[in-house]
Symmetry: C5
């Protein structure tokens, strides 16, 4: 959510490489290299050693973790012929999801979202993809991602991925990210259902804050998914997607549209819950007021009457009557009964 | 509403056949085979036996119930040359309504909605349609659908359906589903009218919950009907609808537009009812407060006065006056009358 | 508003003629036949007798009242070569306003609105228009319409109508209907002005209900006028309007745009009135609370003080003081004055 | 705002000349005739006498005041070859701003807005412009307009107006009207700033009504400016504006866009003020309730205690104790201190 | 925000040079003149002396501060061949951001925003850019801008700016302004986070005013950034941007889209905070009411009972009972316990 650290780059020439995030611990390059018949996996390789994969006929997925190492990224950028503005976008983790087409490569930025179960917040990590004929570079801020099952699919030669080129790998990466959005939506949906029953059973100010947190999460998701949808629409319209891949990219495009639909529905429903909450609070205030009013309306006049006969006037004939006391008691009992009837009629009970 | 079970498929390669729903009891294939002069109906046929209908010159409506039997569906898919992504969409019951055109067949996904009178919720079931030259495959999750009258129309050779091809059958299926939407709208509309009078006669927190449930139902409908409208618009723009069918598809398209209109109106009206509810609660609070204030404002000062003459000072001249007691009574009566005038003037009665 | 009776047609083949309305009393065909020099008016003519006007060189306006007589309408449809779907639309009074172009005729559906002064509700009646070279068929549910002045204009040869063809008559019919919308807007506008002063002078729950009724009326109008605007835009874009008529249809199109503008303004204003109402109720609650609080804050402490000196302790020195009683009275007077100052400072008076 | 008097024209043939406004006092034709070197001004000229200016080579601005004189306007219409529908639009002062292109002239309708400082309402007057090669006809309802400085500019040969044709004059007229919108926006903006401080310093129900009036004024402006923007966009797209004038019309178009921007901002801000108002009222109610609760919570229990020792039981040992009275006083003082601590902790002070 | 001073220009011919702002102290022209190898900086140069830079082969950035000096600006306009309408736009500081293409130069107006930390308001200053082949004129109202780092980049020959033409300089100026928008968004975002915790910890009316101020700031930003986005989109579509610059302008365009995204998110979140505030106030009122009701409901009936036995009737048998007093005390203790149970059951504690 926070556009923090934008200022870090203020006033620098475009193309200056400055990492705007906070993760600074780990730098690692790992490579998955495969074609229909071969498969190789290399972890923690040197920057220079990774260059040999660029022109190999096999598909090479070079995953770079740790954007704080600007020096290494600059080297990679130089070797692969990446435009300085693209490199800048890779390092600026506040980049809006987008696609840029260059002569020698295509450049995609998107957001990998994960749901933090403890804080109930959505965490966002930027993933940048550079892909050319036989290679796919992916840049992540920190280790830990949503690609594990994709990696094992490649290893196990599951599905058509081993038979397909780099473009299909790009699709598979985007698909893995988008699929994870559904998982988050499930969390939010469960969240919403809990809130729906909480708002009726025991509404409290905390409920409102939870509804608000949910809305913020939906805003975060929407901010990531709308540009992603545009990106895919642009990709589908462009001429640089192979005919055979179009159906796959359209499939993931359909998913983004569906995610937007669900987000809008959840927003509408969460607004409805807020209405129920407010009504519920109003009702409670009403109940409390009724109790107070019934008690006060019954006893205040009675207290007045007993007050009268507590006065010390020398001449108060009623006080001397033999049945004065029981008479007053009966009088008051009559008043109570009358009032109870009145409240019944007004449906206050 | 619930995007539940999305996670089931997470990380699997595209085209993996996994049923994401919960219905697992019943699997059945039934066939309606007809042309202008002939009509045949076969129930509970074997998967393999059903294949013979693919290339028959008659129109064959092959209805498959039970998506949990992925093996059977895989067989059907193979025989009919259905793309793995289409098969995946058939089994993923959270699919957004859409249309895909393939070389040998067209693929339509839509939502059959039914209104559960008890829970006042709309239930959604996915219906997938695959149609080629002379056959229409429909896939449903469970038995029970809205096509009964369509089936008897075919049997009875009612209307032009027996004289028309598979495309007209597809139209008739979509039309049956969309017509059922109107039935649901009627339920919701009745619901709304009840709420409209309930909110005035006896508003309670339950009323708000009912309004909310209604809104959720409208959101569910909107989520199904908007993509359906797009789907039909796309179908009408496409070249693969016969000239003679265009008028029928346009008719059902007009219906979807009308349904969207009605949904938007119902949403606006239900928001209006919520306003009335909130105003009604505010008014009630006001009434209660008035009662309390009138009682308290009249009796609290009186109680104070009688309190004065209940004090035990040795020297209180009024207490010895012969007409002290009646004088105080008159004084208090005067105060009550004044206050009643005051409240009348303020229009509190 | 009510989508009632949609279900009536459920499951029937398209083109089945079923009247979905409730008016069943009156069936009548009347004809106005004219050209520049001649004018004839025939009332209560037989169905078959009316057929002769189809191919006459004069312009014939054939008005059919009473949609329950499906048999007669079927006959007319057959003679004029009307597509079964058009006939179905004529009888289904919940049809959305639309225009369809057929080879031999054009088909327009629209809504004639009238304002019921007693119930303050807008009533809607469907008017269908079929027009060909020299004839215009109009279908209404019941007698009573907004065309009286149009009829007298034709009779009196007022304006250019007698010199123009059937297309101009269609324009004149639509224009009469749209003009009547302005009349309804005037009613609603007066309504709104009354509400604007009522909400200030004597706001009550009934005011909210009236605002709500007004909003519902605006929703009803919007539901009729938006499709009508689309219809006219489509008509103007189409090639089947004579060059000479374009200016007239554009004029009525401009009117629909203006009506939409006014509806939106009235909606915004009525929302504003609701805000004033809610503020006014809050203010009143505030006033009531102030009164209560002032009274209670002044008298409750006083009552406590007099209570002290009403205690029966054996040893209470103040009670024996000669000026104990006046001293307490002065003390209490001082307290009252202090509190009144306090409330003045807080601007509660 | 008021769509009053629409009904006046109901049922009349199109092109019937009926003035729908209320101003009926003054009719006057005045002419400004100029070219680069010559300038003439004629006031209160006869209808027929004005005709001579139509074909003069100089630019003639013929201003007609008083639409109730339909006879004169009919004459002018006939002489200048104005289409009956245009004439009707001139007289119908509820016309939506629009532009129509005819073979011999162009026709523009727009709204001249003025701000009534007393009623704080925006008043709208319709200005219609007919212009051909060398003449510009303007029609107003009543005398008094925003063109005085334009007239003196022409007289003084200020700027390029005297060197330009009729089209530039039309631009200058529209520009004068649009410039005046800015003046009104200034008034509304001042209004808004006053309300912004009033809502904090002394919020009352009147504040809400003022906010509402402001919103209504913004609605009125929006209703005039949106169609004006469309009108100018249409004008710029059309081929019948001279190349040299385009830059001027684009300039005034930019102004309309800016006015719309400002109106939307003011609407958003005024909604914000309403939020502040409602919060302020809630806060006040809260304050009042706190005062009441503190007083009641402190004194009601105390009054109960003194009530105990006011009872007249024969056997109440405490009453006989020597220090019973001071003990009770200390007890009550202790209770008061405890409660004050409690309220402090709850931050009620 | 304020459209103040619009009226200043009312009624003047277009192209009249009137400065509509308030800054009148300082007038200064300063020049940065450079190419790949040379760099010169001149401050406080004469108007006439600055003319020599127009046709020099080096890129000249001529910055003019102080729009009140209309005479000097007129001279510059004349020398550079600037259209009177452009000059007018430069001086009218309420101009909406826009781009105009002329034969000899391009004209851009935009808003430089700065955040005033003290008043928490966004301040807007208009920057106009006129650029031709080798020169860029910038016009500012007052000294102090966001270009310092850009100037040092030019001086230090940092990045590609010294190797590029005037168009790249224009990009760099716009980029500097847009980058500063991000800085303001950071301020607003911090602001929002403070409000988010304030609304929970100690909500007050001031919180609402701060939320409102934040919303106003967002409105101000939106009013500047939307037209800027349009401007850049127009620039990118136009043919007068060099191929090599397109990527840079697209980059800044992407930034404007991102800023709009963030603004919309912040607006949604701030609305959510208002909801929390209102709920929090309702809850507080509820708490207060509960306290009052509990106290009153417990003690008012007790006070009535002790009142009974404070009556002075001659015949009240209970008063003579030996255990009358302890019996009454026990009775009242029982009542208190019962009520506490009742309130516990209602979950009021």
């Amino acid at each position: 959510m926070t556009p923090k650290n934008y200022a870090k780059k203020l006033g620098l020439p475009p193309g200056t490489l400055i990492y705007t995030g906070k993760e600074k611990n780990h730098f690692e390059i790992s490579i998955l290299d495969y074609d229909e018949n071969n498969f190789g996996e290399i972890q923690e390789i040197d920057v220079e050693a990774s260059f040999s994969f660029k022109d190999s006929p096999t598909v090479s997925w070079i995953n770079i973790i740790g954007l704080h190492n600007t020096e290494a990224i600059q080297k990679i950028g130089k070797y692969y012929g990446i435009h300085p503005l693209s490199l800048e976008d890779i390092l600026n983790i506040h980049q809006r999801p987008k696609i840029d087409h260059f002569d020698t490569y295509n450049f995609i930025v998107l957001k990998m979202l994960t749901y933090n179960q403890e804080s109930c917040e959505i965490e966002s990590e930027q993933v940048s993809i550079i892909f050319g004929k036989n290679y796919v570079l992916t840049f992540q801020e920190k280790s830990g991602d949503v690609f594990d099952s994709l990696r094992s699919r490649i290893k196990a030669a599951n599905g058509i991925i081993r038979k397909s080129g780099s473009e299909y790998l790009v699709y598979a990466i985007i698909d893995a990210i988008v699929d994870h959005y559904f998982l988050i939506l499930e969390h939010l949906d469960e969240n919403l259902e809990e809130l729906e029953s909480e708002v009726v059973s025991k509404p409290s100010l905390e409920t409102v804050q939870k509804i608000n947190q949910l809305k913020k999460n939906l805003i975060t998701m929407r901010k990531s998914i709308w540009p992603l949808r545009e990106l895919l629409a642009k990709l589908l319209r462009s001429e640089f997607v192979l005919e055979s891949s179009v159906i796959y990219f359209r499939d993931v495009y359909d998913h983004t549209v569906q995610i937007i639909d669900i987000i809008e529905s959840l927003r509408d429903i969460s607004s409805g819950i807020l209405d129920v909450y407010l009504s519920s609070v109003s009702n409670k205030t009403n109940e409390i007021m009724k109790t107070l009013t019934i008690i006060a309306t019954i006893f205040i006049p009675l207290t007045f009457i007993v007050g009268i006969y507590g006065m010390n006037f020398a001449h108060m004939p009623e006080l001397e009557w033999e049945f004065g006391y029981p008479f007053v008691l009966f009088l008051m009992a009559g008043m109570v009964i009358t009032m109870i009837f009145y409240f019944k009629k007004k449906k206050w009970f």
